[in-house]
Symmetry: C2
Subunit: 411 residues, 2 copies
Amino acid sequence: MPVRLPPPNPAEIFPVPGIQIGIAQAGVKRADKDDLTVFLLDSETVVGGVFTKNRFKAAPVQICESILNAPGGANVRALVINTGNANAGTGDSGLSNARLICAELAKLLSLNPNQILPFSTGVIMEPLPFEKIIKALPAAVKAASSDVWAQAAHSIMTTDTVAKAFSQRVSLGAASLTITGIAKGAGMIHPNMATMLGYLATDAQIAPELMKPLALELANSSFNRITVDGDTSTNDSFVVMATNKAAHAPITSWSTEDGQILLKALKRVSVQLAQAIVRDAEGATKFITLNIKGGQTLEECKKVALAIAHSPLVKTAFFASDPNLGRILAAVGYAGIEDLDQSRIELYLDDVHVATSGSRHPHYKEEDGQRVMKQEEILVTVDLGRGGAEDTFWTCDLSHEYVSINADYRS
Amino acid sequence: MPVRLPPPNPAEIFPVPGIQIGIAQAGVKRADKDDLTVFLLDSETVVGGVFTKNRFKAAPVQICESILNAPGGANVRALVINTGNANAGTGDSGLSNARLICAELAKLLSLNPNQILPFSTGVIMEPLPFEKIIKALPAAVKAASSDVWAQAAHSIMTTDTVAKAFSQRVSLGAASLTITGIAKGAGMIHPNMATMLGYLATDAQIAPELMKPLALELANSSFNRITVDGDTSTNDSFVVMATNKAAHAPITSWSTEDGQILLKALKRVSVQLAQAIVRDAEGATKFITLNIKGGQTLEECKKVALAIAHSPLVKTAFFASDPNLGRILAAVGYAGIEDLDQSRIELYLDDVHVATSGSRHPHYKEEDGQRVMKQEEILVTVDLGRGGAEDTFWTCDLSHEYVSINADYRS
């Protein structure tokens, strides 16, 4: 598979009964760009979300959290998403600007403002041009249609080069359910890179109390494998919506057979979205899967994966297709496992056994490492030789293009 | 001051009585390069060292630590340093290769092998061509001279673009002491970048038991402010030598007046060396001082400084002279201070007050930020508004050149 995926085929991105999406041009940053997206949710929809752990939470994130965590529960009926400005580092005026937008949309839809979740992505610490957004809201609402998910995947993009949308159908008994998700994010080669927004919807019937833990579990199995708790942008948000339209027995536990089938399908789409973000990472030329095994705990595996994934030295070696694999061993060494025994480490590049007992494998040949490093997809396996824990993460390389994109982002 | 310093003027780098240095060409990686450096220490010299905390310690680091930590103390009389190969990730054969070199040098100098500290820097996980080094040892010993510190600063370089050497004279009563140091390292824009080697010598009389804590204290006030504990290369080493040749009352405590004078001078040279490494960082175009104040603890200040210093997004913004200062606030937000109150954060670029109470300062003008960002030296001040702790770190930007250097390092 090439690193970059082709854009989604709209014919394969299915509408989700109970959800309409409207897109408009507010001119937040520049004219002639779809930069305003509104989700309209039918009244039985239940919603769960997970948000950035950054202490600098953007204004819209603060509002989303207060709505979804309200005692008595939320009754969310719409989402409003703008690109071009993150409304982060904007203090009290940022909060009131976001609230003005929600209030205006509530008026248009005859809702209460606390039934609307706002999202923003773009430049940090500049005032949100809320008047432009408010002015474009009626057009977005008027344009609302059920079959524009692929376009919505476009309209939430910032530095993304390709839209990210995936759909899946799944049968529960006689009922056929739809799961459709879109996401944006392209700077995720380091967890602090850029805002990730993800929206996953299904017409399944799911008990409201399952939605928050569901959002958390899906994020942990997908987006949190390309990023890390506490190390996220000011605006990262992932929202799961279930419209309760499908004709099947409601899911009230994930441990039932139906629950397992549905959860697996939801995870699959979440992982597709997360991997699509890595594949579209700024300047990425390689898609790298890190399989860390032999840890005493999952936490150890994660530390090692992230030390490798965040090392600019390792990432530039992947970019250069240079099997300078000592850089990976060095990253394992400083990952923070205090009692790590370097003489137990095994390292593989795909099927090539590079290092054994912590040093170069006697049969390792540079040309074998080189062959794997030249691929667009590379599996790095590290066996820590300490226990039975194993985990998988996804990352990419660091290229000239990355520096260009981030040096020029605002110009 | 421009980011890159001029090469040291040999006339200003003073010999240290009691130390001779020999340089030779072993052809470790390529011919026609000075890649072997030997320090010969007079018999009263006392030595202290600090070494990488990476769990993957290079073979020479393991040997240095075992010699310096030996019960009964060490009696170090020589150092041997090669570039071109790090002898890291090389397992038992790496250890025995380094020991063969020490044994050969011991034979040449009529010493015991455990009186010799070995150091290597260069590519990781490739076998050390120890025969080449052993073959060149006699030439290095024969060339030994007291007045070649500036040349030695050259001969320990790898990807450095400029040699790093500083000298200072200091008077203790009637005695005039010399302090001279050299260092190499150019990849330190992130702590895991590349090997740092530092050698600091004085003819002062210092009690042997003070040397290990001295090395630690000097490293903490200099090299550890451009790097971080536990996040270092496989080979990082810093060695302090006192030849005990000068005619003054021996220093037996740092709290005496003489102790304070000497310690201050030693720190000054250490900081000059550390800052020279940042100034020569791979691809660096800006020298950035991070002053973090208002923390509850020094540890908090360090977390914030390192989050800023390690953010590729912040670093590329400095490279582009783009006052995209929200990226700094975002880094503060994910630095790991759980109860951080974003509404108390103040941010300054030099004297420009950029953010107040966690959001854009009402009088901040983009052209003022732009003016500072265009400078080659930039002071970033973050006030956390939580307490009285304050600390300073040094870093640089992330440029195209950095990617080129690290992508091409071995080719």
